[in-house]
Amino acid sequence: MFCLHFYGNLAHSIGRTICLDTEKCVNIYLLVEELLRSKNEPISVDELLITTADGKQVAHESTTCDLSEVRVMRLVRGG
Amino acid sequence: MATSQGQIWILVDYSLCSGCRLCEIACSLKHEGLIWPAASRITVHEDYPGCPVPQYCVQCHDYPCVSACPTKALKVDQNTGAVLVDPSLCTLCLSCVQACPGKIPKVVKGKQYVLICDLCSGDPACVKECARAGYNALRVVRKPRGTSIKHYARPPEMVVREVCGRVLGD
């Protein structure tokens, strides 16, 4: 079981928490990108900050086998 | 390393320079152990938007600073080609600054001797930092032969004017 916690407006449109049964090890960034597309979210994964539960940025090569949950929010709040 | 490939030189491409000064920070961290831009041996000048000009010792073929030094505080590192300053001999008389066509040696409050790029013994910190930042405005090359490189040693305002003319058009 791998869970994603969404923050802010992402939580509003995607849902606060989404848990998935992942049999294979999937790259977390690719997984989030896929989720964004399936929910028709108009932003890209580059615009997001994905961290572990304690606020550490998830490495780009991390997979769903390395972690059990992540937090997903907008990277830049400004601009 | 310099010893195996001969003397080196820092090649600059002004159009790639973002003006970020990470080179100045890296230089001062390396030489002074502190973030101390004024004591950096490389200085980025930017008098107009979008035309930053990094300047540092270009190791002229004839080293006018070395011959101008009355106390023999300056000498050429034969391995790298850099001008090395002996802090115990430098009197801050500024003869080297006057002799330099680009007025590049730096005098900074808190340092008892003139500051000149020493090429970090062949592995310049500024170049590494510029590469880390992905700009590669600075690159280490084998020192070019001849007198051409001396043309880089010009007063910053002159270089800035020319670079700006190219970027901004007027």
Partner: protein
């Protein structure tokens, strides 16, 4: 605690009325409590002016202008300086940040910042060279725009020296005037350009030749700094296009870009695409600020009617507010207006906000040709140029609009003899501060429905409120970044940011403490000062913790047509947010909370505020 690494613990305290310069010591414990920058500004302003806050005229000599660094200044890639004081826009405290080389230069002089009081009779500029401070004559500089001023200072000082300055807008006490830096950078929110103008202070120039103070842990600092640089360098598309890409994306993709005073938020204007802007207008990319590997800036150049205009990007906010918000869809003209705003020393956001407001009022017949003297039309470059100049020089209708959107709305209502709400319904602002160019109606952009309504800095899009209050969504996070004084574009995850501050300072700050104590402390102090307000504005949370009326109109176009935010949801979220910060149901900090946060002298103040509002 005897020492804070990364900071000197002293500020320059300059009185422009008397010309006296003193040193203000800042206790290490104060830094630990308020971090620096924005938090320290609120602390100093409260300490110095708290008792008479309501009576302090932001444009009077009694106001204090603070120019402060923080523990991350100079150490963390992405340099900023915090500019603050009593805001002539909100009557509260706004921590306005701007990217400027002056930030490291101040630390290189052996100080953490400047506190500027009083007012000079004649135009002056402050020149700091290491330990020496001079208040110099600026009569020859007064009236100059940014470009000419930087040139004049360069020839007077003999070299390119970091500065903060104002253009004619600040001199003329325009409430939408910014404190400017390096041609195109502005500390816009708050209106501190007008505060500098009121002090007859044209510029602050700092030449620091010393090192930055040592850090607590060099090894940890070096490791973190390298990892942050690598992280930022990894943001390849941001580096390539900066925020210019948002001129296309925020409108086209997320439907949250102001168009014609927010009447719409979606566009499909191909010419707004950053790739086309890059090809057509950029003469320099990358272009970066001191110590920053992001290089979000780009220099663009256009020529219109024989005049050359130089601008950054334009960055997103300028592009949106001086482009689409004014119905300007010709990019060269958007760039020209952006360049003009920078040179005149105007905040492009606040000025674009009030200009769009004026054009809509004209369109609706509230303002007439008689009031304005010429026609106001969307996208009319010549007319808009004239309007921007009239605001800067307070000519004609510009005199009213120079007061900013909120005050202009109230004045126009009075002028027209109508109820203020009839005009305020077109004012897209919160608590005197025009809203940044990120709308909430589509819910596809970052600001939450309460982003602006609950912010202690009103419409400031860089300091938005949000739930949960113990995450980066909360305004505590902005308060932290603005107090550590670092750019939000280069900031990384919480864990790293907190470790970074600790590596520099030697503190043991934790995430829990940040969200439950330090952030709420800064926000609570700012909130109380905002609710006190004065002298000409007073905010009632029941009325003013609210979105502008326009945000309750459904979006009329684009993929999110019909989108809006329900009022009930805003109310519910506000109450939840207040609760999480330890404020009562009206958003007034409770006595228990202020005591818990160590803000003991606020206990009586919050009691009084509650009594005044009749909710005690």
């Amino acid at each position: 605690m005897v020492h804070v690494f990364g900071l000197w613990g002293r500020l320059l305290d300059i009185d422009l009325s008397s010309g006296k310069v003193a040193e203000m010591r800042i206790n290490p414990m104060t830094y630990r409590m308020f971090i620096g920058g924005r938090g320290l500004a609120a602390y100093i302003l409260w300490r110095e002016l708290g008792r008479k806050w309501r009576d302090v005229d932001p444009l009077g000599p009694e106001n204090i202008l603070t120019v402060l660094t923080g523990p991350l200044t100079g150490y963390y890639p992405g340099i900023k300086i915090s500019v603050s004081g009593k805001s002539p826009q909100s009557g509260g405290v706004v921590g306005s940040t701007v990217s400027s080389h002056i930030a490291y230069a101040i630390k290189a002089c052996g100080y953490d910042g400047l506190v500027i009081r009083g007012a000079s009779r004649d135009p002056v500029y402050i020149y700091v060279k290491d330990g020496d401070v001079e208040v110099r004559d600026a009569s020859k500089l007064w009236g100059l725009g940014g470009m000419d001023l930087i040139k004049a200072l360069r020839s007077e000082l003999g070299k390119d020296t970091p500065s903060l300055y104002i253009g004619p807008a600040g001199e003329n006490l325009v409430r939408t005037a910014a404190v400017m830096a390096r041609w195109f950078h502005a500390a816009g929110y708050g209106g501190y350009g007008a505060v500098m103008g009121s002090k007859k202070l044209k510029a602050i120039v700092v030449d620091g030749s010393g090192p930055l103070p040592p850090v607590a842990s060099m090894d940890e600092f070096t490791k973190l700094r390298c990892s942050v640089i690598d992280n930022v360098v990894g943001r390849a598309t941001f580096r390539k296009w900066g925020t210019t890409s948002a001129i296309w994306g925020v409108g086209h993709d997320t439907s949250s870009e102001p168009i014609r005073n927010w009447q719409e938020e979606w566009h499909n204007r191909e010419e707004f695409n950053h790739v086309l802007i890059e090809w057509r207008y950029w003469v320099k990319n990358p272009w970066a600020d001191w110590g920053c590997p992001l290089a979000c800036m780009k220099v663009s150049k256009v020529r219109i009617g024989g005049v050359t205009y130089l601008s950054d990007g334009p960055d997103y906010e300028m592009g949106a507010y001086l482009g689409s918000n004014l119905g300007v869809f010709e990019v060269d003209k958007m760039i020209a207006l952006s360049a003009m705003a920078d040179d005149l020393g105007l905040c492009g956001i606040q000025t674009g906000n009030v200009m769009g407001f004026a054009v809509e009022l004209y369109e609706r017949g509230v303002l007439t040709r008689e009031d304005v003297g010429y026609e106001l039309r969307w996208g009319d470059f010549e007319g808009l140029k004239r309007l921007m100049e009239d605001i800067t020089y307070r000519r004609g209708i510009g005199r009213v609009l120079a007061e900013g959107t909120y005050r202009a709305a109230v004045a126009i209502a009075r002028m027209k003899g109508v109820d203020p709400s009839e005009v305020l319904k077109y004012a897209v602002q919160v608590k005197g501060i025009g809203i940044g160019a990120h709308g909430i109606r589509s819910r596809k952009d970052y600001p939450q429905p309460i982003a602006y309504a609950a912010s202690v800095q009103g419409g400031d899009h860089t300091s938005v409120a949000g739930l949960p209050a113990n995450s980066e969504e909360s305004e505590s996070w902005s308060a932290f970044l603005d107090s550590a004084v670092v750019c939000s574009f280069t900031s990384v995850d919480e864990d790293t940011m907190i470790k970074y501050v600790n590596a520099v300072t030697g503190w043991t700050l934790t995430k829990e403490e940040l969200y439950s104590v330090v952030g709420p402390r800064i926000l609570t102090l700012q909130r109380v000062m905002l609710l006190l307000g004065g002298p000409d504005v007073r905010w009632d949370p029941r009325l003013h913790d609210e979105n502008p009326p326009r945000f309750y109109e459904p979006l009329p176009s684009g993929p999110y047509t019909g989108g809006f935010v329900p009022r009930e949801e805003v109310r519910k979220n506000l109450e939840e947010y207040y609760k999480q910060l330890g404020w009562d149901e009206y958003g007034i900090p409770t006595e228990e909370t202020v005591r818990k946060l160590g803000l003991y002298d606020l206990a009586d103040v919050v009691k009084d505020i509650r009594k005044e509002l009749g909710v005690s």
